[in-house]
């Protein structure tokens, strides 16, 4: 893969994390995100990092691989963190003209960086350990109560699965088109902002054309395989909650309540 698109890159394995029911993993990820947002103090943040460490250990995915997923987001993380350093009031450490760097600002910036990294690492872990079809099946099951409100749950999960399936394919194609345009003398990444944006038009248009062509071929292929929408479909692997799932949910609930207890006992203050 020439590009660092790691979302949706499944690494087959047999770890505890791999064996968990996708529904468990989706719900746990959801609560993990909430936990990231409420972990503000140093103690709950350390606890969050420890928890992430446990998750990574349970998934048998190398930490390097997990943090590779964070890499494309580093500019965004740094930007947000730096912005927070200058924002807010408190004890000044450094100040020049209108900018004041405060102790509190530095702390917020730093913790924000850690929290965002943990957030992305935690979310990429679920895609490393869950195949897209299982993920889509889990989502479908979780959303199935909404069928009553005429939500096309089967179609929705199929759409998500196909989108994720074709992301790396289209990323590959994007690189190929860039190379082809470069070979004909196109320049990318030079000139001012507007010029740079404009230089990508000759890439985006062929990419759209090719995406449409692929979509038509895919339509034929799934029609040939008797796809008629979600109605009347069955699944090869039926989702069943195991003892491991129950254990994981209980342990996570414990961890989640611990975070809340930490927050109550040691309220966040500068």
């Amino acid at each position: 893969m020439p590009r660092d698109i790691t979302v949706g890159q499944f690494l087959p394995g047999h770890s505890i994390m791999h064996r968990l029911d996708p529904r468990t993993k989706i719900v746990l990820t959801f609560f993990f995100i909430i936990q990231v947002f409420i972990s503000k103090s140093a103690i709950s943040l350390s606890f969050l990092i420890a928890l992430l460490g446990v998750f990574i250990a349970c998934s048998q995915v190398s930490p390097g691989k997990v943090f590779k997923g964070v890499r494309p987001m580093i500019p965004v993380i740094i930007f947000t963190a730096v912005l927070n350093i200058f924002y807010g009031s408190g004890d000044p450490v450094l100040s020049f003209s209108i900018f004041h760097i405060t102790k509190q600002g530095l702390f917020t910036g730093f913790t924000l960086m850690v929290r965002l990294t943990a957030l992305i690492a935690g979310c990429s872990l679920i895609t490393y350990t869950t195949s897209l079809n299982t993920l889509a099946a889990g989502l479908e099951q979780l959303l199935s109560p909404f069928k009553r409100f005429h939500l096309k749950v089967g179609e929705l999960s199929m759409t998500i699965a196909i989108t994720l399936r074709f992301l790396p394919t289209l990323a590959d194609e994007f690189d190929r088109i860039i190379d082809a345009q470069k070979a004909r003398g196109a320049e990318f990444g030079s000139g001012n902002f507007i010029k740079r944006i404009k230089s990508y038009f000759p890439v985006i248009l062929p990419l759209f054309m090719s995406a449409f062509r692929r979509a038509f071929e895919l339509t034929n292929a799934i029609e040939c395989r008797c796809y008629r929408g979600g109605e009347g479909r069955t699944k090869m692997s039926v989702l069943r909650l195991s003892k491991t799932d129950v254990g994981a949910i209980l342990l996570f609930l414990l961890a989640f309540s611990l975070t809340i207890i930490f927050n109550v006992l040691f309220p966040f203050q500068y």
Binding site: S131, N133, T134, A161, R214, E217, A221, C224, C226
Partner: protein, 286 residues
């Protein structure tokens, strides 16, 4: 007992082009029986792929009729049965694979048919072993070679238990190794499982391995015969801008040089035998 595929006087043009007149398929008559191995040849734009899409009701005739096991493709009620009977494989394996796990992709069709989980599992394992890819079932297709991906796609069709598989230039995006593997798989399916094969191709060597060759030109059937008889008509093929298999061409040139070997040879084995016979005959004269 009706034929597996029966095409009567088929005319076709896309709706948005119909005002301009002219037909992509211009009166095709073709019958294919259960168990046959048919290759369809023709120059670019002759309507090969358009014809293929009529075999499983992806397209329906503008004029004439197509029957699959006696079921009319015009009737939408029949489409599910028809698509289960006639599976189809396309050129680009990437655009046919919908899952990131091999066995989940193969399970897609039986899942659509609403089969029981245990039955789906049985079919998936069977289909993967039929194309010799069982060892890769937990792999991600993204990392497989082109030939392997195409075999996974074939397994995905096999899992529907079709009577016939139509392959639209299945090897044209593959390397030589992938091409050989896919061709071997196709032949095996035909020979051992009795699955009818319709192979659309522009590789003459591949067409020569079929038991019957249909040559299309301007939306009409130009030739329909055994490979040996089709490739014997070198002038007609050249006029249609089609090649002759290398081995047939070799024998033809040898004959022109005065070596007495029989005509209508389409395989290396046949050619070798004929050459040995010719050499022995010559030695006998001296």
């Amino acid at each position: 007992m009706s034929a597996l595929i029966e095409i009567n006087n088929l005319y076709f043009q896309y709706l948005h082009n119909q005002s301009q007149g002219g037909w992509i398929l211009n009166g095709i008559n073709l019958t294919i029986q259960q168990g046959e191995f048919v290759a369809i040849l023709g120059p670019n734009g002759c309507g090969k792929s358009t014809l293929a899409k009529h075999f499983n009701a992806l397209l329906v005739p503008s004029g004439g009729e197509v029957f699959i096991n006696g079921l009319d493709t015009q009737d939408e009620q029949n489409h599910l049965d028809i698509r289960q009977t006639i599976g189809m494989i396309f050129q680009n394996p990437d655009n046919q694979i919908i899952s990131t796990i091999v066995e989940e992709d193969v399970a897609f069709a039986p899942e659509n048919l609403g089969l029981k989980p245990s039955e789906i599992r049985k079919r998936v394992d069977w289909a993967l072993s039929a194309v010799d890819m069982l060892g890769y079932r937990r792999h991600t297709p993204f990392k497989l070679s082109g030939g392997q991906k195409q075999r996974v796609a074939i397994a995905g069709i096999l899992a529907m238990h079709p009577q016939c598989i139509v392959l639209d230039e299945p090897t044209s995006m593959l390397d030589p190794k992938g091409r050989t593997d896919v061709m071997k798989t196709i032949e095996q399916l035909n020979r051992e499982l009795g699955i009818t094969i319709v192979l659309i191709t522009h590789h003459m060597e591949e067409a020569a391995r079929a038991k019957r060759v249909v040559v299309l030109d301007h939306g009409q059937v130009a030739l329909d015969d055994e490979p040996a008889n089709v490739f014997y008509q070198v002038d007609l093929l050249k006029r249609l801008k089609l090649d002759v298999p290398q081995i047939t061409e070799l024998c033809l040139r040898l004959r022109k040089k005065g070596i007495h070997i029989m005509d209508r040879i389409t395989s290396v084995g046949q050619c070798a035998e004929a050459l040995i016979a010719a050499l022995e005959e010559q030695n006998g004269h001296h």
